[in-house]
């Protein structure tokens, strides 16, 4: 029995449960006169069966998914220190307001005069994000950070196209998230990697060597994935602008900047906001998030449609932006996520947002300090919201970064982001966020220090880890070699 000896209950796949004829639904009595279905939709258009669907009772469904939920660690359960993911506390009140009928049951094609509350919320959210980031205009349409990147690069392409040609290359540092090169490539650009300096940062002089008339843009994350503020960002932007190229600033780490520095002031032409990170919307086991983009005036004509416009009688959507790149998804964006982010901004206010950034940076530096005796810092440069260690100090023992991550699970913590950024050997990338208390940080640091001691005294325990989780280490090679991607009736 799976899990039997691990102290939690086993649970098969839902399709392996149930019995023919059992149901978990109810429909109200049919209030119409009788009709012949086959007259309306002929039999030959209809499928024979839906054999793949389960036949289970409502109680069985609740128990099934309740058991599954217990096999997850989550940000609500424990510290979830995934670097660059900003797993902060997700306020419960936001789950309540998003379910208000006027939001949850609002049809996207309702006439604008029946959606004024929603439109006002969206307009104010655009304003808040522009104010926080120092950008001139915002589109809330992109569904996720990666789609925000894609949108931003489409804007840049449209801008250059308007000036004669789209250009050919996009510069991206090696420490960037993989979505950066993937998004640039999706827009037809050749990706050129710019090397990170020995201090973990880009040097303006180094970037300058790569800039020419074929460069459309630089994509740069600030603070970067090492948690370091790009100190020469203003000079780097100037180097790009001098050649007519633009700067895409990846806003994934905006949680380190609120009230401290605005991307708009750094010279960024476009940024994306990851509302599921900085603005606390739940990560949902991998989405839905939201990835709005903010732009400077020069790029505003290209923003996705429809856009909100203010008229005498109120807000309305307008498609009348002939230079727009079009649309990246249906309707207006992940509205439910936008409502949550807006509620968060209201609750925090300018004072709370600024404090969030300051405490996030304090927490990361505190962990960095407590761990630096036992683990090798990738770079000695002071960090902002996250700290990155390498596998240097334990490499010789045969213990791998992966082993440390798995052992942390036994201590009751989720693991940091590992093996990223790629520029650090065996990276351990830790982002505690501002919502963790000093006591929790101390417990987490104590766990990592205890593991460092285990590496010296009893490395075998790391290689067997995790020992306390519902399953032990899983065979990923087998999963990839012989893909089983769905349940099938035996």
């Amino acid at each position: 029995m799976k899990n039997g000896k691990r102290g939690v209950l086993d649970e098969p796949l839902i399709c392996e449960r149930g019995s023919p004829g059992r149901v978990g639904y109810s429909l109200p009595a049919d209030d119409l006169p009788e009709r012949d279905l086959n007259q309306d939709l002929s039999r030959e258009l209809c499928r024979e069966t839906l054999d793949g669907l389960p036949q289970v009772s409502e109680g069985e469904v609740v128990r099934h998914f309740t058991r599954l939920s217990q096999w997850n660690l989550s940000a609500a359960t424990t510290l979830y220190p995934l670097g660059s993911c900003t797993m902060k506390y997700n306020p419960v009140v936001n789950e309540l307001v998003v379910r208000l009928p006027g939001f949850a049951q609002l049809h996207p094609l309702i006439p604008d005069d029946c959606a004024q509350g929603a439109l006002e919320l969206l307009a104010d959210l655009e304003h808040c994000l522009a104010e926080i980031s120092g950008m001139d205009a915002v589109s809330l349409q992109p569904a996720a950070g990666a789609q925000g990147e894609l949108t931003g690069m489409k804007l840049i392409r449209a801008y250059h196209q308007d000036r004669g040609r789209p250009r050919k290359k996009v510069l991206i540092p090696g420490s960037a998230h993989g979505t950066n090169p993937a998004s640039a490539a999706l827009c037809g650009y050749e990706v050129v990697e710019v090397p990170t300096g020995p201090d973990g940062m880009l040097a303006a002089a180094a970037v300058e060597q790569f800039v020419d008339a074929e460069v459309a843009a630089l994509m740069v994350t600030n603070p970067n994935t090492l948690g370091l503020f790009e100190r020469e960002i203003v000079q780097i932007v100037a180097a790009l602008h001098a050649h007519g190229a633009l700067v895409y600033l990846d806003g994934a780490n905006l949680n380190a900047l609120m009230g401290v520095a605005k991307p708009g002031h750094m010279g960024a032409d476009v940024i994306q906001f990851n509302l599921h990170k900085t603005f606390s919307t739940p990560h949902g086991g991998g989405g839905p998030g939201a990835g709005p983009v903010g732009v400077k005036k020069t790029l505003e004509p290209y923003l996705p449609v429809p856009r909100l416009v203010r008229e005498q009688e109120g807000w309305r959507w307008s498609e009348l932006f002939p230079r727009s790149i079009g649309k990246v998804r249906s309707f207006y964006g992940n509205f439910g996520i936008l409502v949550r982010a807006y509620a968060y901004i209201l609750a925090m206010g300018s004072d709370g947002l600024t404090r969030a950034t300051r405490m996030a940076v304090l927490n990361a530096n505190y962990l960095r300090k407590r761990l630096e005796q036992a683990y090798d810092l990738a770079y000695s440069t002071p960090c902002l919201h996250e700290c990155v260690f390498s596998d240097e100090s334990f490499h010789h023992t045969g213990v791998k970064t992966l082993d440390i991550a798995k052992r942390l699970l036994d201590y009751g913590f989720y693991a940091p982001t590992i093996y990223f950024p790629l520029v650090v050997s065996g990276a351990l990338m830790i982002e505690p966020t501002e919502t963790e208390s000093k006591e929790t940080l101390d417990e987490f640091a104590d766990a990592l220090l205890a593991i460092a001691q285990e590496i010296k005294d009893n490395p075998a325990v790391l290689r067997d880890a995790p020992l306390t989780t519902p399953v032990s280490r899983l065979d990923e090679t087998r999963a990839a070699r012989h893909p089983v991607l769905r349940w099938e009736k035996k």
């Binding site: 279905l37 939709l41 789950e95 086991g285 079009g326 249906s330 899983l474």
Partner: protein
């Protein structure tokens, strides 16, 4: 601030550990000229009760059922959502986890996605489904990009003009910048299905794929079997895009009819309208195209002791490994919405989804029959439909305006999206509409169209 635990004492103790004099010292890396201008000009923070009050006022400015009776579809649908769905997705263990990078403590998310993949593959009648896309529209664009990867030497994409206008718009935006690509839109015939003669003429060896709505934007059920024959004869792939997933409860699956890639918006499966998002993109294909698929995949495996478990797999297609050579830039899925769809499908089950689909057919056809009895109302298309249909009404826009004064949104005025469809309304009727509501619509529409 209630979300941030630090006391003055904590801060002092932590700064002492750091050996740093003040909080500002932690930001020494940030140039002074940036810090000096960074203050945020927004109101101060609000108490929970104030946040609730403010958002309640905004929500109440949007009239919804029962105050407003709507017959809108067009890519977003009102359906019954069992209360269990929302209860499960609010469990913090699901809602506040992230992408399951550590599978040993993410088996809940992983098994649920594996179940989602199984159910979606079955509904769409194809071999394999991914862990979901953002929505139906971007999923359709990804399907077109995928088709182009499979047959890269073929630059032309055929889009049915009856495909959801926003889906077409998203495909165009995604394809802009892809060198050499050409998009051709195919008209519909008198019955509302794709014009077969024009399709035949347009299909040459430059065509990578044909994309067709199933049902299409007008609710019309396309003859997918014939379209796939035609497409395959020309060496092209057939992509179907479905906006109303409840239709799969009754209609033959796209895979059964020969589609190579099937995409759908899954919002109808237990996800609220929420002004158009978030929903969830369903995405399935034939096994032989697996390596070209975008998005996350969960696979079954075993742990060291031989117990069944689940992991993210085939990641070598993805951006975090392949970077600029990845199959897509997508990095997550719409996990929590995929979970909602999974719970919904489990509750409805084999019998319930069918019954639900049948109820939609019955209610919508009942409404259509009554509407056509109104003098001046005509059926615009003759082909079979699922739960949406187009009715020609003289002065559709004016009638719509006058009905709104009676708190009824009768449907979508199609002229805004299709200038050639003047005076046409697209109506959607689902299981949620009662007979009384349908008859009220008919009565009011009769009165307003005779005014």
């Amino acid at each position: 601030m209630r979300y941030i635990p630090h006391t003055d004492h904590d801060i002092a103790a932590m700064l002492a550990t750091l050996g740093v004099g003040s909080m500002d010292d932690l930001f020494a890396q940030v140039p002074e000229e940036l810090r000096a201008r960074a203050a945020i000009d927004l109101p101060p923070g609000k108490a929970e009760s104030e946040v609730r009050g403010h958002l309640t006022a905004l929500a109440e400015a949007n009239p919804v059922s029962p105050g407003l009776l709507t017959f809108l579809g067009g890519g977003a649908y009102s359906h019954f959502v069992p209360v269990v769905v929302d209860q499960i997705i609010q469990r913090a263990e699901f809602a506040t986890a992230y992408t399951p990078y550590q599978p040993e403590v993410s088996q809940g998310t992983l098994q649920a996605i594996f179940e989602f993949q199984s159910l979606v593959a079955d509904l769409l009648g194809l071999d394999v489904a991914n862990a979901s896309m953002y929505d139906g529209a971007s999923g359709t664009a990804e399907a077109v990009l995928m088709a182009r990867r499979i047959v890269p030497q073929r630059p032309t994409v055929l889009l049915a003009r009856s495909l959801h206008p926003q889906y077409r718009q998203v495909v165009r935006t995604y394809l802009d910048g892809v060198p050499g690509v050409r998009i051709i839109e195919l008209p519909w015939g008198a019955d509302g299905q794709i014009d077969a003669a024009v399709l035949e003429q347009s299909l040459d060896d430059s065509v990578s794929c044909l994309v067709v709505g199933y049902p299409n934007f007008f609710g019309v059920v396309e003859d997918v079997a014939r379209l796939s024959d035609t497409a395959h004869r020309g060496g092209a792939l057939l992509v179907t895009a479905t906006t109303e997933a409840i239709a799969f409860g009754l209609l033959k699956s796209p895979g059964e009819l020969g589609a190579d890639i099937a995409v759908a918006e899954g919002q109808s499966l237990g996800i609220p309208l929420s002004y158009g998002g978030p929903g969830v993109g369903l995405f399935a294909c034939r096994n032989r195209f697996l390596r070209n698929m975008p998005g996350r995949l969960v696979g079954e495996t075993v742990d060291h002791e031989g117990r069944r478990g689940f992991v993210l797999t085939l990641a070598t297609r993805e951006q975090h490994i392949r970077r600029e050579r990845a199959t897509s830039n997508i990095c997550t899925n719409h996990g929590l919405c995929a979970l909602a769809a999974t719970v919904f499908l489990c509750l409805m089950g084999k019998q319930g989804l069918r019954e639900l689909a049948e109820r939609n057919v019955k209610k919508s056809h009942y409404a259509r029959d009554l509407l056509l009895q109104i003098s001046g109302c005509r059926e615009r298309f003759t082909a079979p439909f699922f739960n949406e249909f187009v009715v020609a009404v003289p002065d559709a826009r004016g009638v719509g305006q006058r009905l709104k004064e009676q708190h009824i949104v009768a449907g979508l005025v199609l002229e805004e999206w299709y200038p050639e469809l003047k005076d046409c309304l697209l109506l959607c009727v689902t299981e949620l509409h009662t007979r009384v509501e349908i008859e009220r619509l008919v009565k009011e529409l009769r009165m307003k169209s005779e005014e």
